[in-house]
Symmetry: D2
Subunit: 267 residues, 4 copies
C-alpha cells in the first residue's frame, strides 16, 4: 500500500491464494475472522481516494477450500473492511456454468463492483485471451454494464484490467489481440437499443428482446472501429503495425545483449 | 403465510423457480428490486416468532438465469427482507465442485443459516437420498455445525428438512433410509474430538487434523445407534420393522379401494 | 423400426433413458452386454439403406449412471451393433467444459458420426434454442465438419436434427429462430479460408490461425443470407413473414374449436 | 522405452501434455493421425511382456483441447497402437460429475484397463491424497474391480500407481496415509457380499442392493487391517512407526549436508 501511494495507484487489488488442501486442516470461520481483521487494517491505511479491490476464486492453488471462494464472500469481506472496498471480478474465477453477467449486475446494483480481471477459459482458470472461447459471454458482461449506465444515467466506476497468461502466443501480440477484441465486443454492446430492449422486457416479448442482443452481437463493428482509429491517427490494423514496426526484434536484441552476462534470465 | 400461521408453522420456506431462459429477455437488476420489495412485504406479514427462509438454486427450471442463483444473492435478499429472514441451503442446489460446508460455515458465522433441504446428487439437482453419492460431504456439513456449536457454546437454530424425489425407491423405505443415514453421519460428526482438532489446526499439523475427521468418519457408529434405539424402545432395525409391520400393504389396499372410483389418481 | 420402414425414414435414432439411480443397484457390465445384444438384434432388422443412430447422455433421468454415458460408450456400442450404426451427438448431452467439436472431429475421423440433435444450454440438458447461449461453439462444430469435407473432398453424411424444448417461446417462432441461427452460423463456418488455415496451422502461426476463425465469425453474414432468400423466392425476414401470415392465429382457433369437446388436451 | 527395458519395467506409461490453447490453431484430426502413427511405432518397440499404457486428461496444460481428452480417445488410440496397449485411468483426469467407476467397468469389459494413477480432487487435477475428498468413490472403483474378478473368476491385470502432489504435507507421511487409505477402502470393497448383491440386482431390489455396498463401506475395517499387520510382522500404526523411526530427520540431515556445497537443490 505504501508503494501504491507513492506511485499514485488508486486501486489496491488483492488476490489471496490462501485456504486449505484437506478437510479439517483449517478453521474456516476463524480464517474468515482473521480476514476481516486484516482487511480492516488495510482499509484504515488507504489514502484519500484509494480503493481496496477484493478478488475471489473458488479453487487453486488451495484445493479443498479457498478463503474467498466466491463473490458473496468477497462482498461480505469488502463490506466488513470499510466504505472504500469493492469486489474484483476475474472472469476465470468461477464455477463452470456460472452466469457471470448476473453477478456483475448484482454487484452493480449493490454498488460493490470495483473492477475486472479479464481473460477466458474452458475448464479452470486457464487465463486465455479475452473472448477466445466464449465471446458472447464477454459481450453480455459489457451489456449489463452499459444497461446499468443507461438506466441510472451515471458511469459505473470500474477498473478494467487484463489478467492473462500468454504461454504460447507472443505476449505483445496477445495483448494487442485482447484490446482489439475488447473494443469489438464493447462496441457491439454499445449498439444495443436499450429503449427497445426495456420495452420488450416490459412486455415479456422474449424473442424480440433476445433478438435485440443477438442482432447487436451479429453486427460487424470492425469497419466502424477501423474508421475510429483512422480518425484518431492510430494504425488501422494494430497487429500489422506492430509487426511492421520491428519493435519486438529491437527489444529482443537489446534484452538478449543485456542478459548474456548473467547466469540465467527470463528476459 | 396465513396457512403457516394457522397451522403453527414457524418457518416459511421460499423457493422461487423464477428467472429467464434467454439472455436479454429479462432485466436482472429490476427483478432483484422486485424481489426485495416482495420479500419485505412478506416479512412484514410474519407473526411473532416466525421466520422467512430464502432458498437459492443456480439452474432449472429457469435455464439462463435464476433470480436467486446462489447463497450470496439469498443472503443479500434475506438481509434486505428483515431481521427474521434466513438462508435455506438445499444441498443439491450448487455448482459442481462447490464446497458446501464452507458456505454452511460462512452462513453460521454471519448468523444467517436458517435451514437445510437435504438430498444428494451427482450432476444436477438429482434429489437422491441423503449420503447415497457422497456421504463424506454430508459428514463434513454436520461437522461444521457441531464445531460451530462447540466453539460458541450455543445451539445453531437450524430447520433440518429432507427434499428428495423418490421415483424408483419406495417412498417410505427411502425416508427410513434417509433418516438412518442422517443419524449415522451426524453421529460420526458428533464424535470428532474438537479440542484436539482445534489444537492440530492451531499448530498447522495437517495430517493429524485431517486424521481426526477421517477417524471419526471411519468409525462404525451403527452399534451405538442400535443400542440407543433399544434404550428408547424403538425397533433396532427400522427398515425390517417397517417391512414386517404390513403398513405399506395396508395403506396400499385402503387407498386402492378409495381410488378405484375415480378417473385418475396419484394414490 | 417397422414404422420407420413404412414411412421411409432412413435413420432410427435411439436414445435410452436407462441406467440406475444408486450405486450397486444395477450391474454396469451386465447392462452393457444386454445393450450389445439388443442393438445387434435391432441392427439385424434394418432395411437396406437404413441406419441406427446411438445417442449418449451422461445424466438424467438416470442419476447415478446412464447406460450410454458418453460418445466413447456410444461408439463402442454402435461398432458392436453392426456396420450401419453410427453415433448421434446431442449438443446438450455433455459434461460441462467438454470440447464438443473435438468429439465431432474424432467421430468424423472414425467414420462414426451419424447425426446431431441441436440445442443449447448453460448447466444441464436445458434444450434451449441453438446458439442462444454459446454461438461460437456451434460455429466451431460447423467448422470441423466443413474442414473435414474440405480435406477429404467428400460430404459428411450427417442427419441434422433439432431437439429443443420451447416452454416459454412460441414453438414455431423458436423453430424459425433456430433455423435462421443455424443458417448464419453455418454460413460463417463456410467462409473460413481453409487453405490459409491449414497453412497457418502447419507453421504454428497461432494468432493468424485463430484470427481466421475469429474473422469469419465476426463477419456479418445476414445480408448475404437475405439475398439468398430473395433469390430463392423466400421471405427476406422469415419471422416477420410468419407473424404477418396469420398462420398461428388460424391454427390456434382451429385446434381450440376441435379440443373444447374433450376433457383435457395439449392442443 | 530403452530405459524401461534395461530396468525391467513392464509398463510404459504415457501421458501427453499436448493439444492446443485456441480454437483453429491446430488440426485435431491431423494430430490424431500423428498420435496413431507414433503410438504404433512405440508399440513396435515393446519388448515381449511389455505394455503401453495410454493416459487421458480433458484439460491442462493445453486449455482449448488436449489430444487425448477422455477414455474414449485413449481406448481408440490404444487399440490402434497394437494388442499390448491399454488405457491408464488417472482419477483426477475427468470432467466434474463423471462416473469414474462406470468407465472402469467398461474398460474391464473391453479388456482395456491397464492401470491407475490414484489421487483425489475437488475441482480440477488437484492431485490430493487418495480418498481425502470422496472416499466412497474410491471404494466404488475398487468394488467394480472386485465384482469383475468375482464374476469372471480371474484377476484383473491392473497396475496400481499413485500420482499425487504433496505440496503441503510431508511427502513420506502423505504416502503412508495414501497406502493406509487404499488398504482400508480396498478392504471395504472386499467384504461386499457379491452373491447377495447379484441376487438383489437381479430382482431389482434397489434398497437391498444399495445397502450391501453401504454396509460394507460403513464397516470399520481398521481393526482387521491392524491384525493383518501384526500377523505379518509389520508396525500396527505405520505413521507412528515412521515418526518414531527418526528416518525423516536422518535423511534430511544427510541430504542437507550433501547439498550445502551446491548452488541450488530440491533436496
Amino acid at each position: 500500500m505504501t508503494i501504491a501511494r507513492e506511485i499514485g495507484s488508486r486501486d489496491i487489488s488483492l488476490w489471496f491464494a490462501d485456504g486449505s488442501n484437506y478437510p479439517g486442516t483449517q478453521n474456516i470461520r476463524q480464517r474468515r475472522a482473521w480476514f476481516i481483521e486484516s482487511l480492516q487494517a488495510s482499509h484504515a491505511a488507504l489514502a484519500p481516494g484509494q480503493r481496496l479491490l477484493v478478488e475471489y476464486k473458488p479453487f487453486e492453488p488451495a484445493f479443498y477450500h479457498t478463503d474467498i471462494a466466491d463473490w458473496g464472500m468477497a462482498l461480505l469481506l469488502a463490506r466488513a473492511a470499510g466504505p472504500h472496498a469493492r469486489v474484483l471480478v476475474d472472469t476465470g474465477h468461477h464455477y463452470l456454468a456460472q452466469n457471470i453477467e448476473q453477478i456483475v449486475a448484482w454487484l452493480l446494483a449493490e454498488d460493490m463492483l470495483g473492477g475486472f480481471h479479464f481473460n477466458d477459459r474452458r475448464y479452470a482458470d486457464d487465463d486465455l485471451t479475452l473472448g477466445s472461447i466464449d465471446p458472447y459471454q464477454v459481450f453480455r458482461i459489457f451489456h449489463e454494464i452499459r444497461l446499468f449506465e443507461y438506466e441510472t444515467g451515471r458511469r459505473a466506476d470500474i477498473a478494467y484490467m487484463v489478467d492473462q497468461s500468454h504461454n504460447l502466443k507472443g505476449k505483445i501480440e496477445a495483448m494487442l489481440q485482447t484490446v482489439a477484441t475488447a473494443q469489438e465486443l464493447y462496441a457491439k454492446a454499445a449498439i444495443v437499443d436499450h429503449a427497445a430492449l426495456l420495452d420488450a422486457q416490459q412486455h415479456t416479448d422474449l424473442v424480440r428482446a433476445e433478438s435485440l442482443l443477438q442482432d447487436a452481437f451479429a453486427t460487424d463493428v470492425r469497419p466502424a472501429i477501423r474508421e475510429w482509429r483512422t480518425s484518431h491517427g492510430l494504425p488501422v490494423d494494430p497487429m500489422q503495425a506492430f509487426r511492421e514496426s520491428g519493435y519486438l526484434e529491437r527489444i529482443t536484441a537489446e534484452r538478449g545483449a543485456r542478459t548474456t552476462s548473467r547466469a540465467s534470465s527470463y528476459a
